[in-house]
Every structure is written in C-alpha cells, then in structure tokens.
C-alpha cells in the first residue's frame, strides 16, 4: 500500500500506517512516576534560582519540583499553571535547553540539567488528568474584553481576565482555537490532540466565548471592537510570510512551511499529506526544523535544510539542529537561494554561498528538489492596527498600544522571542494590566 520513499515527485502515502505511527509518536516519552521522583531528586532547590529567572513566565521551578518530590504532583501543577496556564504545552515545546535547563546549576556543574521540561509535563499532565479545572472565576465584574487571536497569548490573556471575573470574547480567524499550538508546532511535540484538549481544559474557567473564523480586517475592525468592549487585546500573531527573493518561486512544489505544517497538523491521517522525494527547506528557525524533520518523517528520501548564515546564527536551538540531523536532515549553512528551476513544477534549486555578513561568494550549487518549503520568517500581514515599530505592533512592557484601551501581545508585537512561553507571559501580563485599568 505504501508507495515508498523512492517515488519521485510530491506524493502522499509513502509509508505504512505503522511507520507513520512510529515516526510521529511522542518525541520524548513522558516520565513515569518513578522516573519523575528520580529526576526531581536531582533539583538542589537553589536560592533565587537561575531557572526561574530564565523562564519567561517566572514559574517557581524549584517549588514545583519539590512538590513532585514530596508526592504532591497536583500541587506542583497548580504552581505551574498559576504562572503559565499553557504550562502543559510549554512543557512540550519550550526550548528548555536555551531557557531554564540551560541555566540549571547542574547543567553548569555536570552538563546534565535537571529535566525541568519533562518534570513540568509530569505535573501538568497529572493535574489535567484529574478532569477538574484548578482555578475559580471571581464574581462577574460585568466588564467585557475582546481578545483577537486564540493562540497562546490570546488564551493566556483570556484565562487571566476570566479569573478576574471579566467576560471575554475570543475571536480567531481559524476554525479551531489554539493558534500555532494547533496549527504550527511539529506534530511529534504535541501528540494525542493535546493542543485541542488543552484549550477545552483552559476554557473550563468559564466566562470565555470563542468565536472562530473571524479576522481583523475581515469581519472585525478595531474601532468597532473598542466601541463594543471595555478593552481589546490583540494577539493576532504573524499571518504574512516573507518572500523568498529567488526567481521561480511561483512554480508548483514551492510552498510555505507554515502552511505545510498546518496541513499536517489538521490532516486526518499522515498518509493523506503529500511530500516530495527530494525536499529542500529554506530557513534557520524552529519552523524550518519542524518542517524539515516532519518531511523526513513523512517519507521524503532526501531532506536538506539550507540557511543563509552560519549554524551559530540559526534561531533553532542546538538541540533542534541535532534533532534534525539525527532524523536524517542534511543541514547546509551560508547559502542563499538564487533560482528555482523546472518547467511547471520545481525540479531543482540553486544557491549561492554567502559569508556571515551575507556577502555573496560567487559560488553557486544546485540541489535536486521536487518540493521546496520556505520558512524564512513571518510578517504581521494585517492592517487596521495601532502604531507599529519594526513591522510589529508597538507596545509598552504591559502590552499597551498606541490606541487607548487596546493592548497587544505575542508574536504580533516585537516584545519577545516569538516563543509560546513568551506569548503566554505577555498575554498574562497584559490581562493583569487590563484588569488594573478596568478597576480604575
């Protein structure tokens, strides 16, 4: 039934159902109770712990690990969720190797940090398995807030506002809530529909209505929202994509990596997702790695990730780079695309070597390609917004925009590192600021 990896062109159903299941299983199997105790025992309960400082949401990591170690994983879950309501997803997708675990004193001392991400997953999974939302909503304040975008920033903001008793309507342009958690993260990082389950669990706080398929600039406009609501929080993410800047990018087989990942995430079965035999991914961030690895897992024979600068400059962490290499992705650095060739469909793509200052070196090479996935950065791609700075919505630390009663957070602002966890932090902090403003 499987057509195999050698068939040229872009094709679906390359692998057997078993192989797909194996390839897309949990990247890191969750810790069992014993493993969690052993891992928790390694935490030194540092004073003013560096891991907490490194966490964008300031989760009290030594405390939750001690709670796990003393047999109270649900209390640990509450410690995590009270800072980061998407702590379950963050436990799966955070680049812990560049955040909490990088600064863990045991990483410094032994090169082997406490498994903070895995322990966070243990605690959050444990609490979520109780099927009871751990927080209560305050008495209804009668205040109404519109949140535009149901990604991590929007959901975190909505939840915190709901906790404070405000009524929240969350608008999202997609059919499902979750944003990049639902559409944009590699499948093997969030197995068993975790993103969807997490949203349902989060909404149990009450007071939040989700209205899907509604976009700013489409069904919604900012002026109308500010009229109808006491406050507005914009968490619209980055809907646009950067152009490749190489000729021939209109050819069949060239597509945006974000769309590819979204298709994969929403597919009913992996066998339905078409993938090339010779896939070239262009970019150096998490999206590029997620696309390249998943192309390989879908049965592409050759996957090459090409980045225009050096390995050190890649936004994807070293762990992600190594993951890609381990899965068989070839990484080429210091090369920028020049021309995509082929008749109707892409057949090859040529690159020119560049030095670290992006000065072309005058040497060109060509890769065979029947599919090209571009992941070279996203743009705001929306209008009718408050003032921008460097292409993103300009905000204060509390998320206030240039428009009165309008806050913003997440990737659509230039505040953070475009990580799930920074989006959560901004959503939460904006909610607190909105709450203060509404109480004034």
């Amino acid at each position: 039934m499987a057509i195999g990896e050698l068939v040229p062109g872009v094709a679906a159903g390359r692998l057997s159902p078993d192989k797909y299941a194996e390839n897309f299983s949990d990247l890191h199997a969750p810790l069992d109770a014993h493993e969690a105790l052993v891992a928790a025992d390694r935490c030194y309960f540092c004073y003013d712990a560096p891991c907490v400082t490194a966490c964008p949401t300031d989760i009290d990591i030594p405390l939750f690990i001690r709670q796990i170690a003393t047999g109270t994983a649900d209390a640990a879950g509450i410690t995590i969720f009270s800072q980061n309501i998407l702590g379950g997803m963050c436990a799966r997708v955070c680049p812990t190797e560049t955040l909490c675990e990088e600064t863990c004193v045991r990483e410094v001392a032994e090169g082997k940090p406490v498994q903070i991400g895995q322990l966070q997953r243990f605690a959050t999974d444990h609490l979520m398995a109780q099927n009871a939302h751990p927080f209560n909503r305050a008495a209804d304040t009668g205040r109404r807030v519109a949140v535009v975008g149901a990604g991590p920033a929007g959901l975190a903001c909505a939840h915190r506002l709901a906790m404070h008793g405000h009524r929240v309507v969350v608008y999202d342009g997609n059919a499902k809530a979750g944003g990049l958690n639902e559409y944009g993260i590699a499948s093997y990082k969030t197995v068993d529909s975790f993103a969807e389950r997490e949203v349902s669990w989060l909404l149990e706080i009450g007071g939040i209505t989700i209205e899907s398929d509604k976009k700013l600039g489409g069904d919604l406009n900012l002026a109308e929202l500010t009229d109808r609501f006491d406050a507005v929080f914009l968490a619209i993410g980055l809907a646009g994509v950067n152009a490749l800047g190489a000729s021939g990018q209109g050819k069949a087989g060239v597509r945006d990596a974000v769309d590819f990942i979204a298709e994969l995430r929403q597919a009913e079965s992996y066998a339905q997702v078409s993938i090339g035999r010779d896939v070239v991914v262009i970019g150096g961030g998490m999206t590029a790695v997620d696309a390249a690895v998943q192309a390989k897992l879908l049965g592409a024979l050759n996957v090459t990730l090409v980045y225009r600068r050096s390995r050190e400059r890649m936004n994807a962490s070293r762990f992600e780079q190594d993951l890609a290499a381990a899965k068989g992705v070839r990484i080429i650095t210091n090369a920028a695309p020049v021309e995509i060739s082929g008749n109707a469909a892409v057949e090859s793509i040529s690159f020119e070597y560049m030095d670290d200052d992006l000065t072309p070196m005058g040497e060109i090479f060509t890769l065979r390609a029947d599919q090209v996935l571009t992941a070279i950065g996203q743009t705001l791609g929306a209008t009718d917004l408050p003032s921008l700075t460097r292409g993103r919505i300009a905000v204060s630390q509390d998320g206030r925009t240039s428009v009165a009663n309008v806050w913003a957070g997440g990737d659509c602002t230039g505040l953070g590192d475009d990580l799930t966890v920074t989006a959560v932090a901004q959503g939460r902090d904006a909610a607190e600021d909105i709450h203060r403003a509404l109480g004034a």
Binding site: L37, V38, D41, R42, Y44, F45, C46, Y47, D48, A49, P50, V105, R106, V108, A109
Partner: protein, 434 residues
C-alpha cells in the same frame, strides 16, 4: 595489600567484618553465602528456647529514604529466630565445621533465670562455635516478655546474667547493648563487672519510621495497627559512634573490647568505628540493602586506606581517634576559622546563601552575577554552608593564622590554648582570683 586478619577477644577471623545477629544470619544457607562472599565472621541470629517464637505474617520492616530512594534507615519488628533450637544448632555446627577460619558467634536470648542460660550454653558449646553474644538489646516484642532491651536497660540484670553466663561457659562472651538508655556507660560498666569479654553496640533504636496518612497508623502496618520497631542503617551511625566513643574514653572501661555496630555501610564507616575503639565491626542493614558482595569493597577499601597510612595490622588503627575525643568545655576557644568558597568549584546554587541568610549569621554575600562570597566580618565558622553545599570541598573552613586579626571580633588570633573552664564569662571559671 594490608593484612586485615583480626583477633577479637581470641576469636580469629580473616577480616574484621562480621555480619550482625539479624535476618542475614538466621540460616545455614544465608551464612554459607556470606562466607563465600568473604565475610570474616557472623553472629548467628539470636537463639531462644523452644517452643520457638513466631513472627508476624505481615510487613516486618519500615524505612526512610534519601535521594533516588537510597535507603538511609530501616526499622524492624522481627523477633529472634523463629526456627526450632535444634535445627539452628545443627546448622551452626555444620557451617563452622566447613569454615573453620571464620568467626562463628552465637547470639542468645533466654529468660532472666540461670537455668535456661546454663541449658542453652551447653548446647552452643557442642556446636564448636567460637563465642556467644548476649542479646540485651532488642527493643521490640521480646522486651515485652522481659528479655532483650528489658534486660539491657537495667545494669543490675546485665551484670547478673553476664556473671551466670561466664560461670557456665568457657566461650568468650560478648554483651550486646541497647542504645535505648540515657547513658551507655552504665550498661557497659555492668557488663564489664559481670565479666564480659567484650561489649557490642549498638542494637536498634526504638522508632516509628512513618505514619500512614490514609489509615492513620504507624508503618509498617499489620492490618490496621503498627508497633514501634528497632531502627538501624546509615541514619543511626552517628548515635552508635558516640556511644562507642563514650565507652572508649571512660577510664574505668579501658581495655573492654568493643564490637562496633550501627550503620556500617562502607569501609570508611568501619574504619571510623575502629578508630573510636572498636576491635571489629558488625554489619546488617548494608548487607540487607545491597547483598553480601559489599564486603569486597569493605575489604579492598580498608586495605587501601591502611596501605596509604602505612598500617600493617588492624590493631594499629584501633582507638587512634580516642585521645582526640574531648568534652566541649575543653575545646580551644582561641581557635578561629572562616568559611571560604572556591569560586572555581561553585555552581552558584545559592544554598549556602539561603542557609546563612535565613537561618544563621548573614555572613554570605550574593552579587548580581550570583557570585557568593563569605563576609569574614560576620562569619562565625559554623560550618552550615559547608554542610548544605551540594559540591564536595567547594566550601571549606580555613583556620586563621596566629597573629592575624579576626575581622568579626577585631581581636588578634591568640596562639595560646584557652577553653571555657578559664573563660571570664564562665561563672565557675577555674582561674583563681589573683
């Protein structure tokens, strides 16, 4: 490799590591395995009179654990052997015959009357055993019947029974002491007065290791009830070391041989007991945790240590630390030290800071870059930072040189020795008024 040959009150063994009277020495099968593994001797699990006692049919042990479930303390409610006397005696004879070079000591516990002691001693002598150990220590079960620690807590009984035993046997007699008393010197002196050839200590400590918070009962639970047990393992070592030291440094007890027991887990623990005056050591919990093979590490470790220190026999190590055991009142109050943090080893966890700042003398500074340094003008050299630091040898206590000024007190470090007995703040100062 150093010679570990041991001669304890005339009982010879190839090394000073014996298995204590306990479950590991209850049967021929176990003891043969122990000797094959290399143990120098055993104290056979306590024999009593028939009809033999019975044990509970539920859990006998409770425990506490450290990181990674490392067993730190074990307690038990097991009684003396629950097998017929004759079977034990036959097995003892059989094993001793096959392992003539190993020490075979038999632990005994019978009621506090002369005839039962006379009866059982005759039986033991017939086995060819090397000696007997009188179990005056078990703190649970048997003590409710007037035996074990019920005897060990009354010095008069200890002396009386020891005297009986000595008069009815030619075998060397070791008296095993209970730690469940206020002052170990009393029972030790009573054993000495009764003619004991040696004392062994400590037996287990009265304990409840945990409480079941669902059923509200001490653990281990027999059905819905629990009883206190006897505590042993690494956690009791400090208590045992002190009791051994108390006996060693008592002038009236000089020359009373000691078999050291209590949490011996490694060669180092054994060496510590020996330096405090023990002639050999007995081990139980470590074997019950890791199996008999651990004796190989004890043998190789003690040998290496002795080679490094140029000791050629274990006897040279016995009691070497005893002259340095002092009372507090004789400690030198002019000795001044300061904690020092090795920045190359520091992993910046800040535990020293939390401990000192929250619970001690606010003598550690923390910079914005998480560099931790000792404030010499506040440090009293309490050692807490050393003890809470997860990195060995990262923080050390460094003595201040004579003649330097202690920035905390502003006083010059005085090279002369001066203790509390002569301190001006001591109302009972021995310094005579001029």
């Amino acid at each position: 490799m150093a010679n570990l040959q041991s001669d304890f009150i005339g009982i010879k063994s190839p090394n000073p590591f014996w298995l204590a009277s306990a479950p590991p020495t209850d049967k021929e099968y176990n003891v043969r395995r122990a000797f094959e593994a290399g143990w120098g001797g055993v104290v056979w699990k306590t024999l009593g009179l028939d009809p033999h006692i019975v044990n509970v049919n539920g859990p006998r042990y409770g425990a506490i654990w450290g990181a990674d479930r490392r067993l730190l303390g074990l307690n038990n409610i097991e009684l003396i052997t629950d097998r017929p006397l004759e079977i034990n005696l036959q097995e003892i004879k059989s094993v001793k015959r096959d392992y003539p070079d190993r020490a075979m000591v038999v632990s005994l516990m019978v009621p506090c009357e002369e005839d039962p002691w006379k009866f059982i001693l005759g039986k033991v002598e017939d086995t060819g055993a090397d000696g007997v150990e009188l179990n005056f220590g078990c703190p649970h079960g048997m003590s409710e019947r007037g035996m074990g620690s019920a005897v060990g807590q009354v010095p008069e009984y200890i002396e009386m029974v020891t005297r009986w035993v000595k008069s009815h046997t030619r075998m060397p007699v070791i008296v095993k002491l209970t730690p469940n008393i206020a002052d170990i010197r009393g029972p030790a002196a009573a054993a000495h007065a009764g003619g004991a050839d040696a004392v062994s200590l400590i037996n287990t400590i009265n304990s409840i290791t945990s409480v079941n918070l669902d059923h509200f009962a001490p653990e281990p639970m027999i059905g819905d009830k629990g009883a206190h047990g006897g505590y042993c393992g690494p956690a009791v070592k400090p208590i045992a070391l002190n009791m051994v030291a108390e006996i060693s440094r008592t002038p009236e007890l000089q020359g009373l041989p000691i078999s050291g027991i209590g949490g011996v887990t490694t060669w180092r623990d054994a060496a510590e007991f020996i330096t405090l005056g023990a002639g050999n050591v007995q081990v139980c919990t470590a074997a019950m945790t890791y199996g008999f093979k651990i004796v190989q590490e004890m043998i190789s470790g003690l040998s290496q240590y002795m080679d490094e220190k140029s000791f050629t026999s274990v006897d040279q190590l016995i009691g070497r630390a005893v002259p340095n055991i002092s009372d507090w009142q004789h400690l030198n109050l002019n000795y001044v030290a300061k904690a020092k943090i090795n920045q190359d080893l520091c992993i910046q966890c800040g535990r020293c800071y939390a401990a000192c700042e929250d619970t001690s003398h606010q003598a550690i500074a923390m910079s914005d870059q998480r560099v931790f340094t000792v404030k010499d003008d506040e440090c009293v050299a309490c050692n807490l930072c050393v003890n809470v630091c997860p990195v060995e040898a990262c923080i050390t206590l460094e003595p201040m040189a004579e003649g330097t000024v202690d920035p905390r007190t502003g006083k010059v470090v005085d090279p002369t020795y001066a203790n509390w007995t002569t301190h001006p703040n001591n109302p009972a100062s021995l310094t005579a008024a001029e």
